[in-house]
Symmetry: C2
Subunit: 620 residues, 2 copies
């Protein structure tokens, strides 16, 4: 079938520290592909309905993908998954960096963690050997300090560390898992789950290279990428993800003031261009990647920002910048540093603060609630103070650490109307009114509002755009307007989102400019499997259906597939006004999507025949 | 999108002889691909519910495919379609030869014929020019005579002729359309429809070569085929389609005695091997094909067989041989000659006679009914006499010319129990008990029992078989037993049958040994379109759904998707006994198939969302 891939999954029970190593057969890897696939498979098999996400019955999965650790740009990613304390459903998030590649080099594809430890521990994987170690001395410390302490204790500077910060220890519902101190598996609260298990960190050191079935094919694509780097991703290399900030501003799709606007007057001040001109001191990459899209910033005036924590991504700038009305890039960079140091998801943190600011502006929250902080749009220092409170679980931060959705339930007074979430997870900095398919994607994603498996409709509005060339593989030949959820759009959405779930399975970064064919080719080079686009799209659909099935079992039904009412309002602009997505349009889009997916029209759960088609009838 | 394919469709109204030429855009061709695709598109758009298939409101379509006429083996096929007088639903049948390539070379992809002519006419297409001509002098003549008369009249020996024989003129419900006097678009009674329109023939002469986007790609595959010919299709070349007769005999799957047995004691006497040793005088090919699987036989003793009519295919040998208990290969060849000369489908003719023989053996028909003919199994001369009667519509032949299903309704006395048909069409010589997927295929095909878009389960029972290597493209990696309609089998069935409908769209012979990838490659070479397996499978599914929609509109619902009860009985054998397909197993398979196809579980018609997915919402 291939070159006889054999991999190992490490099972750890924190209740008694017991360890078991599983060696699944090659079909397992071909079917689930790693990453999100292994997460979805494991959670559906192992997590019972109704369990407390922050209790010992939750199962926490770290999984590399079939591509992770291969010597090719984009292969430096890994997934973390568990039942989400934020959504109560399928929790999964990916991060870049070097940890996943190191895990593969240590001989493991995934780690599955059950139970909870009585005392703080960290896991040390040194090649084939596995050890649980005391983490008491690491508790409460920032991520950079912890990483240094672990490396010192184990005497190896090249050790890679995944960890929770103080926010995860204290069960902030959107605490994240931090890798290499500056990459986050940010969404769905995986850091809180890790913290609830008293597992402070996973330190990894490996030395065996990831085996390749056809190294020359992988080399060929690596060469193609470096040759075409400037042409294809020059802007991303120069400006990082923040390069998209001004284009969004110019299209009225830069989320601002808690999604009350799509334009931010000071957009240029927080742009990728401005960053490059001012505080940028270096660029950084993930494993084997030539793009170096990661930013490294340094600030040393009344605000101090430590370069060890990298620099803000676009999503972070949006969440703490335009969403909070903050035009101070140094303050935004400080917010980024704090979130990385404390292990907080920058999106949920920033959007929750933005929500609180709107409450304050509207008099729903007052100085009495904030302990005197003027929590107004544009107040950067108030925002930084809130991060501290959220991490410490003090003051208003105690409530905001539950996430904006739960906070709104407590705050009341109509604040529920403008809490910008889906399934309890805060909405990222992509504007659905500029991409109706993206709005559908927020609504139906198994993880709640999510931007890493979604459709960016604008990229399909012109014939011969790179994305249109890609989807010609599905016989989709005609471009579509951005502001429709027509059946043709829903079909495009289905295939593209399936594909992206597959991308999240194999551990490939979604920013790489590989066309579909090349992904097939690279994965063939790594695994030796004679794959096709067909098999890969349906592998993505398989992972998605498992996640969807997990949600159904945990009680998340069709009623949770929705959007905040705010998105049905138009988005004003002098130059690029945008219509809202009406509830009727969304409902129609959802119904069409369910039907095309083979999901039950009432429950939204996969039908038995869909599971059969995907070779996962066991999930029924 | 490609090289800007532009083609022409000729519209002919026989009521007034008017002619119109349509030039669809390139998207039309890419979506429907020609052949069955254009047939299904046209019938659904143009044929009203409930019309008489043999009346002037029926629409008759001749269509070449996107591959037809390309210089590569397997490209010599064309489709004929109309509402079927046999099934009352979607009628469509393909044939090989040279006519379709000639039509393309004359500048047309398809001919759509409406109305009926008062007087017998034939259509003469000479390059771009089109003319209706008097056919009075051709009526009642054999196909070889007609072809010669037309060529003489028009003064060109290279003219290619499609025609109905006397059986079509006389509206025998399973009359076929004959090409080149020895190729038949045999199934679903298209000859009767053509006869009902008083259209005796379509003569074509073209000289412009079919344009190729990338001739070198087509040449490369042509070269690959000739290089690997012996290895891949040596047996077919040597023995023709009859090469499969003994393998079927040895697996208890040679339909015999009206499907009462799967073994025929005299199988060797009617085998491809025996034919090659005795009456075979030449081999013949279709356009551009190096295989030469067609047989040419000659007999000159008390039985005389004219070599002009070629020789019997396997299906013909089965229908007139083992099914009728006849072991005389010369008599079978005579039956083949007569059917080609008269324009009768050999399968329906042979199986209908086999049915009548069982009636006779059981005393349900008597000498009084047969005019003294001892219509017993094994009586070859009785069989030949019945062909004459069917063509002449005299004696018992008048009734048998209505097809076995309608005959059984008249004969009664329990004969309805053993009439071997689906949707009124006689079952071909492939045994469902040896291929349960094939049984499902007979049941659900839009054309009634059909062997040219079906699953031959035995070919998927061993890992690394050529077919298993093919379906790995769908991520189907594990072989399956032949005697199951498990969900995994139904999934395999769905994709394979979709693919075959696509093959029937592009005009490719199903006997060519091209793997999926190569078909994509060849079609890319011809059209310039960047096709994928994905787009092609879904194009096949599109054609199938249009056909299915046509049936729904004509009143053929789920109740017509069934198998004769005989197939639920076991098939005895000393060495290879076979279990039956129980009604429960079949029902379960059908339900699974509907669900996987996105068809309504009650009506069996495509749902709106399925049509939307296939870009044919107009069909809803």
């Amino acid at each position: 079938m291939g070159f006889g891939y054999s991999g190992k999954i490490l099972h750890l029970n924190l209740k008694d520290g017991s360890i078991r190593i599983e060696e699944p057969d090659e079909i397992f890897y071909r079917r689930y592909l790693g990453g999100e696939g292994i997460v979805a498979y494991t959670l559906l098999k192992e997590v019972a309905p109704g369990i407390d996400p922050l209790g010992p019955d939750n199962v926490l999965v770290f999984a590399a993908g079939m591509l992770t650790g291969a010597p090719i740009g984009g292969s430096g990613r890994q997934s973390v998954g568990a039942k989400s304390p934020l959504t109560g459903g399928f929790g999964e998030s990916e991060a870049g960096g070097f940890w996943g590649a190191e895990l593969k080099q240590a001989g493991f594809d995934a780690i599955i963690i059950r139970g909870a430890s009585e005392k703080p521990v960290y896991l040390w994987i040194n090649q084939g050997s596995v050890e649980l170690r005391d983490a008491s001395a690491l508790m409460g410390k920032t991520t950079a300090d912890v990483q240094e302490l672990i490396r010192d204790e184990l005497g190896d500077k090249r050790i890679r560390v995944a960890q929770v910060g103080p926010a995860g220890e204290r069960l902030v519902r959107y605490a994240c898992v931090i890798f290499d101190v500056n990459r986050a598996a940010g969404r769905t609260g995986m850091g809180a789950v890790m913290g609830s298990k008293n597992l402070k960190a996973i330190a990894v050191r490996g030395a065996q290279r990831v085996a390749l079935a056809h190294p020359e094919l992988v080399r060929e694509s690596a060469k193609w990428l470096s040759t075409n780097l400037e042409r294809l991703v020059g802007r991303r290399k120069a400006l990082g993800t923040a390069g998209c900030l001004l284009p969004q501003q110019y299209t009225n799709s830069l989320p601002s003031y808690n999604f009350q606007a799509g334009e931010f007057a000071d957009a240029e001040k927080i742009s990728g261009e401005r960053m490059a001109e001012t505080i940028l001191v270096d660029r950084d990459n993930c494993y084997a990647c030539p793009i170096y899209c990661k930013r490294v910033v340094e600030v040393d005036n009344e605000i101090k920002v430590d370069r060890a924590y990298g620099g803000p991504e676009f999503e972070t700038i949006g969440s703490f910048g335009s969403m909070c009305g903050v035009s101070n890039l140094e303050a935004i960079s400080k917010a980024n540093e704090l979130c990385n140091a404390y292990g907080l998801d920058t999106i949920s943190t920033g959007v929750t603060i933005s929500f609180a600011m709107e409450c304050f502006e509207k008099g729903i929250l007052t100085s009495a609630d904030t302990g005197g902080i003027e929590l107004r749009f544009g107040n950067a220092s108030a925002s930084l103070e809130m991060i501290q409170q959220i991490k410490d679980r003090t003051g208003l931060g105690k409530l905001l650490g539950e996430g904006s959705y739960r906070a709104a339930q407590v705050i009341g007074k109509g604040s529920e109307e403008f809490v910008m979430h889906v399934k309890g997870q805060e909405i990222p900095q992509q504007e659905p009114r500029a991409h109706h398919g993206l709005g559908l994607g927020y609504a139906v994603s198994p993880t709640g509002a999510d931007h890493v498996h979604n459709l960016y409709d604008q990229e399909y509005t012109e014939a011969n755009s790179p994305k249109m060339r890609n989807v010609a593989a599905f016989g989709i030949l005609e471009p579509l307007p951005y502001d429709t959820l027509s059946p043709a759009k829903v079909k495009l959405f289905r295939y593209e989102v399936d594909w992206q779930h597959m991308i999240n399975c194999i551990g490939l970064c979604l920013f790489l400019p590989y066309e579909y064919d090349r992904v097939v080719d690279i994965l063939h080079g790594v695994t030796g499997w004679d794959l096709t686009i067909w098999e890969l799209v349906y592998a993505g659909e398989r992972a998605l259906n498992l996640a969807r099935m997990f949600n159904a079992r945990q009680g998340l039904g069709m009623d949770k597939d929705t959007l905040p009412r705010r998105f049905s309002n138009p988005l004003k602009s002098a130059t690029v006004p945008l219509e809202g997505i009406s509830p009727q349009e969304l409902q129609q889009g959802i119904e069409t999507y369910y039907a095309m997916m083979g999901w039950d029209p009432v429950t939204g759960a996969p039908t038995r025949s869909k599971l059969q088609e995907l070779d996962i009838e066991w999930a029924a």
